[in-house]
Amino acid sequence: MNFEELTQLAERERAAQHAMPFQIHVCAGTGCHAAGSEMVAKALEGEVARSTLKGKVLVKCVGCRGLCASGPIVEVEQQQPNAEPASVLYAHVRPEDAPEVVRSIGGEPVERLFLDTNQPFFTRQLKIVLEDCGKIDPERIEDYIARGGYRALFKVLDEMTPSEVIDEITHSGLRGRGGAGFPTGLKWATVAKANPQRYPTYVPPGVQSQKFVICNGDEGDPGAFMDRSVMEGDPHRVLEGMIIAGYAVGANQGYIYVRAEYPLAVKRLRTAIRQAQRVGLLGNNIAGTAFSFNIDIRLGAGAFVCGEETALIASIEGGRGLPRPRPPYPAEYGLWGCPTLINNVETLANIAPIINRGAAWFASIGTAKSKGTKVFALTGQVKNTGLIEVPMGITLREIVFDIGGGIPNGRKFKAVQTGGPSGGCIPEQYLDTPVDYESLTALGSIMGSGGLIVMDDSTDMVEVARFFMEFCMEESCGKCIPCRAGTAQIHHILTKFQTGRATMRDLRLLEELCDVVKHASLCGLGQSAPNPVLSTLRYFRHEYEAKLRSDGYAYGHANGAAEEALSHVQ
């Protein structure tokens, strides 16, 4: 396929869609799917076929719309000449509502199910990564192409050299969305420059490439589902980003590492890869150029540590997911000893828009050091749970109270937890902090991959810390001792707090232990494992102190002086 054919295909698909004056989009993301959206789609299809609108209405299943709490979500779109289609959103649609929805097409919307899109949940968001998610059918490549998909790939192949692509990404200021925030352009440049001959390699026969691109879709954080929604809702965007990355760094083989717990994402990615191969956008000699690129899927098997890049590589090679010391970094010595580029799903989903609209456009969004947008999975004790995408620099207060709609049941906000088990809890007084990599790190949390869990005043912070530590303890791979033994001991001490056996000495030991684990662990899991404990100690110390033993061993909140005296003795 060449650029002309792509344009023709896009035109044809657009014309076909315009022939249908109405479109009904039924959300088929995991949230709505669980709420029964498949039945709703079937009912709507049946109803349309029976009605007078037959042949004028297209019913299609799309990716996640974001507001998962109100699922299943249905959108009715009406094509308008020379304008964006007018649309009406419905929430909590049941199969038996189908006749009413179909009857309302072209007339007044159904009041009972109507969902107002003028509320802050929709107006405060800025969608780049998710711009097509919820608009296109993720199982049809034609739909993606009709909305301008794969144009960036042709622009790169026809007009740009690999180093120009890397410069463009560098100038955009895009940083890794997996959590650590490493500048993407710098990573690409390192891999592009790396010499595959520098280290001995052991590439298995049948794999023909000297460098590799890996898409990290091992979303292990409990409470996070951003990457899953992107892979399920817009898989071709991830593929396009990977192919461009492959071209820029000189790799011919890519792997997508997905959790086996996401069967729908795996299925849709497989379909997408097959479709891209069929039209010649993936495989040998892409678009008639000398550049070849293949993508395979590798399934994870439920290990949190495999989100760490060296552990992920070990897992793709077929072994246990154990990390190894860095350097050498994977950019020089990665998969099978070859230079390897590892990017998160969301990072790769940002590539095509940057190429299409230019680095300057992307750099104009966000704060001085953090550019662009970030996708968050907003969950916990908040009214609007779901998937959101906001520009960097928005405050946490805006996210929780405007977009999230505040705390339900008249309770009070207590803390928001970012970054999953590696992040920290941020209390009310810091809610006006802008969301970017540096600010969150300064608060003792991290940006992380994007889970945001809101907690109300009924939440016990020591229990939260214990919960995360139990998670880290179980997921620790056991290779290095600070992490293997340290997390178990921290968990033991926190359990003592919960059973009322903790003394002042335990509190001090806890702090010391957290420090050791943080600085002595081998990989990101251990280094960040104490974060939930440290941040709750920092902001909610009184809760720990209230749980100290109340007999002679403990010196609670009221006995500050005695406590001070004891610390000198010990």
């Binding site: 709420a35 699922g71 409470g223 717990e261 290990a303 090679e317 077929g318 889970g451 791979c477």
Partner: protein, 151 residues
Amino acid sequence: MRRYGYQGHALIEALHTAQEAFGYLDDFTLRYIARQLRLPYSKVYGVATFYNYFTLKPQGAHVCVVCLGTACYIKGSPELVSALESAYKVKAGSTTADNALSLLVARCVGSCALAPVAVLDGEVIGKATPAVLLERVQQRLGAAQPAEVAS
């Protein structure tokens, strides 16, 4: 296995395929995979036990997975687990004596917006309460043996 040319790096894929076919990985399967891929049995066993997704024990006729991810946890999924534990006299992570029900816990099933979540024989039950969940499990157990036991 043939698809990957019997190479060592196909181990995880092979284990996935085997577990999908048999529902769990028994000793015979692991030894067979090791022989076919020319890997030491110790490595195959090591990988199979390292990852949470693989199970070496057969499952009950019905499987109920309760999510203990952060979002579900703070919305009360531990109560779901203890309700099931006491109702069916089964510990989380094991199977009842009559092989009727396996109670498992998961780290996150990715449906956090519907927290707390339980997955009963592949069907997601969102915003679950102990009462609703117990009723659904009872329905399943009371019904005749389902066709797709292995799933």
